[in-house]
C-alpha cells in the first residue's frame, strides 16, 4: 500500500501550537507512507487539489489527513479522494485541532501527540478496504408528531409540496398552546383568528391524514423507511359519525369535568368538544367524570345524540403507517408553579397562571372575556404580574430563560388596561428580554402609554389579608422592599419540556438534554436536524420559542424533509456490521445486545442458526462486535484488527522522534 499524509496548519489554529512540518517529516518514516507534506488549509480548493495531485503523482492507495474533527470535513476529503479515483473509505483523519492544538499549549508535547495520532491513523489505514454504499427506496410520506403551530406549519408546507402527511396529536384537537391564547404580541391580533384558518387547512388538505387523540406507540426502521404504530385513544364517540352538533354537551348532567382547554378555570361537561374552533370538531368523553363509565348509570348523551355515535364500549386502536421522515413538534408544558410555596403553592384562588389569565380574557373563554377573580367573581382593580416563575431559577432546577414571558406579560398588562380601564397593573421583573422585531417598543409602550408599573425585583412572598393578596418583593432599583396589595396575581410561569418527551425521544432514538428538550444536531448549523437521519425538530420541543420562531422552524423542518425526498433513492452507509457466516456459531448474543434490533437469525443451507445484519437498520455502533465470542461479527471500517493495529502503533516499545 502507498499512503500519503497531509498535515494541515488550519491557519494558526493548529500551526500556532503544533510544529506541522516536523509532524509531516516524522510521518515519512511510518510504514507504507510514501509521501507526506504540510499545507496551510487542506480543506480549501488549492488544498484539495494538492491532495488529488499527490494521489495521481505518487500513485497513492490511501490518504491520512491530519486536521480538524472529522465531523467537520470528513465528507469534504472523501469527495476529494473520489475525484482522484480512490474509494472514499480509503481516507483516515487524525484530529489534531480539537484533540491537540485547541486543548494544549505546550508546542513540543503537542507535536508529539499530533505525530502519534497520525501514526495510528496510518496504521489503521493500512487495513482499510474499499466500501460501497447500497441504494434503497424512500417512502415519500412524513409523520408530524404534534399539532401545535410548529407542527401545523411543517405539515402544511410538506402537504402543499405534494407530500403525504400523517399528523398525530395527543389532544382531541390540534392548535396546541397557541389556540388557547387570546391575543399575540406585539401586534395584539387575535390568536385563534390567525391560527384558525391554518387549522381548517390541515383538516381539509387532501394530503394530510390527522389522528387526533392519538399517540405514537412505536417507531422502527430507518431514514426513508420508518414503520410507525399510532395508538388512537378511545374517545367513546364514533368520530366517523359525530357531526359536532354539541347537543350531548348541553345535556350531560356531569358538569364537573376538568376543562383542559380552559386550564381548569371553570369545570365543563364530561362529554364535549374542547373549544368551538376545534379541529377535528368531534366530541369525546372524559371517562374519569362520565357517570355511565364510572358508575354504569346515565347514558343521557347516547339517548340525545341524533347520529347515535356514542359508544361506551370503544377501545383504543392501533394503526400502522409507513413514512420516510419524521418531524417532532411536541411543544411544551407549563412549569408546575405549585412548588413555589411562598406564592401560595396553589392554595390561593386569586393567584392564577398566565395561561389561565389568557383564557379569562378570551371572549370564548369560561368568563366570556370578562376578567373576574376566581374567589368571588369581582372585577380586579389591582393586578400584579410576577415574571420568571419557573424560569431563571436554579432553586427549582429551571436555570434557563423561557424566552417569551416578558413579552406575554407586557401584552397581558396592556390588555388588562383595555378590559378594565380604571385598573392598575404592576409587573415584577428581573430583566426585560424583548429582542424580537417590534418587541422592545411594545414593552415600552406598556410602561409609557399604558402606565403599567414595572418593578425590578423578585417577589418573596404572597399572602392573603382579608380579601386582598399582599405581594411582597424587592425593588432592586430603589433598593427597598415593596408591598403591593393586589386583587389578582398573575404568575408568568415558565416552560418545560412536554410531559413524556424523554420517552418519545427514546422511541425516536434522538438525544434530549437534562430538561427533556430534544437536542438538535448542531446548535448553530443544524438547528432542525437531529443526530438520527430523517428525524427533524420544530418548535418548543427543542427549547423555548415564541410563535414566529416556531413557525419559522416548522417551515425549516419541512424544507429538510423536502430536501430528503428530492432524491428517489437514498444511499446506505456501508460502515455497518457484517457476519462472517463461517465463524458464527449462532449463539445470537449479538441479537440480544443490538439496541436497534438490526441482527436477525437465519438458517444456513445445513439448517444451522446464523446471525445476519439487516444493513439498513444497523447504525454502525459496534456494540455487537465486542459481544461476539468468536469475532464473527465485524464492524466494517472499524474491525477488531484495525483497532488492534491502532493500539499496536501507539504502544510500540520504542518511539523514535
Amino acid at each position: 500500500m502507498r499512503i500519503g499524509v497531509f498535515v494541515c496548519h488550519c491557519g494558526s489554529n493548529i500551526a500556532a501550537t503544533v510544529d506541522c512540518p516536523s509532524v509531516a517529516q516524522a510521518a515519512k518514516l511510518f510504514p507504507d507512507v510514501v509521501f507526506a507534506s504540510d499545507t496551510m488549509y487542506a480543506c480549501s480548493e488549492p488544498g484539495q487539489d494538492a491532495i488529488i495531485q499527490a494521489i495521481k503523482e505518487h500513485r497513492l492507495d490511501g490518504v491520512v489527513v491530519a486536521s480538524c474533527s472529522p465531523r467537520m470535513h470528513e465528507p469534504t476529503f472523501r469527495r476529494a479522494l473520489e475525484r482522484a479515483g480512490l474509494n472514499r473509505y480509503m481516507l483516515e483523519m487524525a484530529n489534531i485541532r480539537e484533540h491537540v492544538s485547541w486543548i494544549g499549549k505546550n508546542k513540543e508535547l503537542n507535536t508529539v501527540k499530533a505525530t502519534e495520532l497520525v501514526r495510528i491513523a496510518a496504521a489503521k489505514l493500512r487495513l482499510n478496504t474499499p466500501l460501497y454504499a447500497n441504494q434503497f427506496d424512500v417512502t415519500k410520506r412524513v409523520l408530524v408528531i404534534g399539532g401545535g403551530v410548529a407542527g401545523i406549519q411543517a405539515a402544511l408546507d410538506c402537504a402543499d409540496a405534494g407530500i403525504q402527511v400523517i399528523m398525530v396529536e395527543r389532544d382531541t384537537s390540534i392548535g396546541g398552546k397557541m389556540a388557547k391564547l387570546d391575543k399575540t404580541f406585539p401586534t395584539v391580533d387575535c390568536s385563534s383568528c390567525i391560527l384558525g384558518p391554518k387549522m381548517v387547512d390541515v383538516a381539509q388538505h387532501p394530503n394530510i391524514t390527522l389522528y387526533a387523540a392519538s399517540e405514537v406507540e412505536e417507531i422502527s426502521g430507518y431514514v426513508g423507511n420508518f414503520d410507525v404504530k399510532v395508538r388512537r385513544r378511545a374517545t367513546y364517540v364514533n368520530w366517523d359519525a359525530c357531526t359536532g352538533c354539541g347537543l350531548c354537551m348541553e345535556k350531560c348532567p356531569s358538569k364537573k369535568s376538568y376543562d383542559a382547554f380552559n386550564e381548569g378555570v371553570a369545570p365543563t361537561a364530561a362529554i364535549g368538544i374542547s373549544f368551538p374552533q376545534a379541529i377535528p370538531k368531534k366530541a369525546s368523553i372524559n371517562a374519569e367524570f362520565c357517570m355511565k363509565l364510572q358508575k354504569g348509570k346515565c347514558g343521557v348523551c347516547a339517548k340525545i345524540c341524533p347520529t347515535k355515535c356514542i359508544d361506551f364500549e370503544q377501545q383504543d386502536t392501533i394503526v400502522s403507517e409507513k413514512v420516510g421522515a419524521i418531524v417532532a413538534a411536541t411543544g411544551y408544558d407549563l412549569f408546575d408553579w405549585t412548588v413555589y410555596n411562598q406564592y401560595g403553592g396553589g392554595r390561593y384562588p386569586d393567584v392564577v397562571t398566565s395561561l389561565q389569565y389568557e383564557r379569562m380574557m378570551n371572549a370564548s373563554g369560561p368568563t366570556a372575556g370578562h376578567i373576574k377573580r376566581p374567589s368571588d367573581g369581582k372585577e380586579p382593580k389591582r393586578v400584579v404580574f410576577i415574571q420568571c416563575v419557573g424560569s431563571r431559577d436554579k432553586a427549582v432546577d429551571r436555570p434557563y430563560c423561557s424566552g417569551f414571558c416578558c413579552m406575554y406579560t407586557a401584552k397581558q398588562a396592556v390588555l388588562t388596561k383595555d378590559h378594565i380601564p380604571d385598573s392598575d397593573s404592576y409587573v415584577f421583573y428581573m430583566d426585560i428580554r424583548s429582542p424580537g422585531k417590534g418587541y422592545d417598543e411594545f414593552t415600552r409602550r406598556a410602561q409609557e402609554q399604558y402606565g403599567v408599573q414595572y418593578v425590578r425585583g423578585r417577589v418573596s412572598m404572597i399572602y392573603p389579608k382579608g380579601d386582598v393578596l399582599v405581594v411582597r418583593g424587592a425593588d432592586t432599583l430603589a433598593g427597598t422592599q415593596v408591598e403591593v396589595e393586589a386583587d389578582l396575581v398573575v404568575l408568568a410561569v415558565g416552560i418545560e419540556s412536554s410531559k413524556g418527551a424523554p420517552h418519545l425521544a427514546e422511541k425516536l432514538r434522538i438525544s434530549y438534554d437534562h430538561y427533556g428538550f430534544f437536542m438538535e444536531a448542531h446548535p448553530k448549523l443544524k438547528p432542525v436536524e437531529t443526530n438520527t437521519a430523517g428525524v427533524y425538530l420544530a418548535g418548543c420541543c427543542q427549547g423555548p420559542k415564541d410563535i414566529p420562531t416556531s413557525v419559522g422552524q416548522g417551515s425549516a423542518a419541512a424544507a429538510k424533509v423536502l430536501t430528503l425526498f428530492a432524491k428517489d433513492k437514498l444511499e446506505s452507509d456501508p460502515q455497518i456490521s457484517r457476519v462472517n457466516q463461517n465463524r458464527c456459531v449462532g449463539c445470537l448474543k449479538c441479537t440480544m445486545t443490538c439496541p436497534f434490533g438490526a441482527v436477525k437469525d437465519v438458517k444456513d443451507r445445513a439448517g444451522n442458526t446464523k446471525a445476519e445484519v439487516v444493513e439498513t437498520v444497523c447504525q454502525g455502533c459496534g456494540i455487537c462486535t465486542v459481544t461476539c465470542p468468536h469475532g464473527a461479527i465485524q464492524l466494517q471500517h472499524f474491525t477488531d484488527n484495525q483497532i488492534l493495529a491502532e493500539v499496536n502503533a501507539l504502544c510500540q516499545p520504542e518511539m523514535e522522534f
Partner: protein, 291 residues
C-alpha cells in the same frame, strides 16, 4: 413504646421559657419518649457566638454533642429552634476536616463522635407520629381555631435543617390537628417576628410582630401556637407594645404547641405552665372546654 432520646433544654428552657421546657418534658413522657438530659450541658452560644467567631461558636455546640454521644445518646432533641440551628450548623461544619481540627484544638478533645440533633417537632412527628398522639388525646381541642407559627428559623436553611418544607411547613399543623384543633392555613407561618432586633430596634419588632397578629386576627383565630421561645415572647409579652404602637387592640393568647398538646392529653394547666403566659389564655381555654 419507650424510646430513650437525648434532651437539650437550652438556656431559655431553664429561664425565660420554663413553661416550654416543662410542657415538652411532660408531653414526651406521656407519649412514651424517655428524655435524658445531656449531662453537664452548656449554652450553645445561640445568638451572639456565631456573630463573633464561627469556630468558637461551633466548639460550644460540639462540646454538647460530644457529651451526648459519650452518654450513649445517638440523637438529641431540642425544643428551641435557635439551639437547633446552632447545634445543627456546628454538626454540619464539623464535617469539614480543617474546621473540625480547629474545634478539636479549642476543646482539647477528639470529637470522635457527635450526636445528631432533631427538633422536638421532628421527633414528635417522625418517631411518635400523629396516630399515637391522637390515641392519647382525652380532651380534644375541637373548639379551638388556631394558627401555627413556626418562625423564620425552624426549617431554615433547608440543607441544614433537613426537615419539613422551608416555605410551608406542616409538622405543627399535623400534630395539633391530631389533638383535634382546627388549624387554619396561616400564610405568614415562616415570616420573621423581628426577635433578633428586639433590643436595638423596637420599631421593627412592633411592625413585624404586628403584621403577624393582624393577619392571624383577620383569620379569626382563637390562639396562635408557636414552637420558639423568642417568637412566643415577641407575640405574647410584647402584644401590648405592639397594640399601642399600631393602635390595635389584639388579645390573642400565644401558646407553645406542647402546652396545647399537653392540655389535650389531660395534663393539668399548672403542669403546662399556663399561668406564665402574658395575654390571658383563660377565656380561650374555657370556651374550648380544656380548662
Amino acid at each position: 413504646m419507650s424510646q430513650r432520646i437525648g434532651y437539650y433544654p437550652g438556656c431559655s428552657g431553664a429561664g425565660t421559657s420554663m413553661e416550654y421546657d416543662a410542657s415538652t418534658r411532660a408531653v414526651c413522657a406521656r407519649l412514651g419518649l424517655a428524655l435524658q438530659e445531656v449531662p453537664d450541658w452548656s449554652c450553645c452560644g445561640s445568638t451572639p457566638a456565631h456573630t463573633v467567631d464561627h469556630v468558637l461558636s461551633a466548639a460550644l455546640s460540639a462540646r454538647n454533642l460530644e457529651l451526648a454521644a459519650e452518654a450513649g445518646l445517638e440523637t438529641v432533641t431540642t425544643p428551641c429552634p435557635s439551639c437547633l440551628a446552632n447545634l445543627r450548623v456546628a454538626g454540619h461544619k464539623m464535617e469539614k476536616e480543617g474546621f473540625r481540627n480547629q474545634v478539636k484544638a479549642l476543646l482539647e478533645t477528639e470529637c470522635a463522635s457527635l450526636a445528631t440533633v432533631k427538633s422536638t417537632l421532628q421527633v414528635l412527628l417522625e418517631d411518635v407520629g400523629p396516630e399515637a398522639v391522637k390515641a392519647k388525646v382525652v380532651r380534644p381541642l375541637s373548639k379551638l381555631r388556631v394558627a401555627c407559627y413556626y418562625g423564620c428559623i425552624m426549617n431554615r436553611p433547608p440543607e441544614v435543617m433537613q426537615f419539613d418544607d422551608p416555605e410551608h411547613p406542616m409538622s405543627m399543623d399535623t400534630l395539633l390537628e391530631a389533638c383535634g384543633a382546627e388549624v387554619l392555613p396561616f400564610p405568614l407561618k415562616v415570616e420573621c417576628c423581628g426577635a433578633a432586633a428586639g433590643m436595638p430596634r423596637k420599631d421593627i419588632v412592633t411592625e413585624l410582630s404586628g403584621r403577624l397578629l393582624d393577619v392571624a386576627a383577620g383569620m379569626g383565630v382563637d390562639a396562635i401556637v408557636t414552637a420558639c421561645p423568642l417568637c412566643q415572647m415577641n407575640l405574647d409579652l410584647r402584644q401590648g407594645q405592639v397594640n399601642s404602637a399600631r393602635g390595635t387592640s389584639h388579645a390573642i393568647p400565644v401558646f407553645y404547641f406542647t402546652q396545647l398538646m399537653g392540655l389535650a392529653m389531660g395534663l393539668s394547666s399548672s403542669e403546662m405552665g399556663i399561668s406564665k403566659l402574658a395575654v390571658d389564655p383563660k377565656p380561650c381555654l374555657e370556651q374550648a372546654g380544656v380548662l
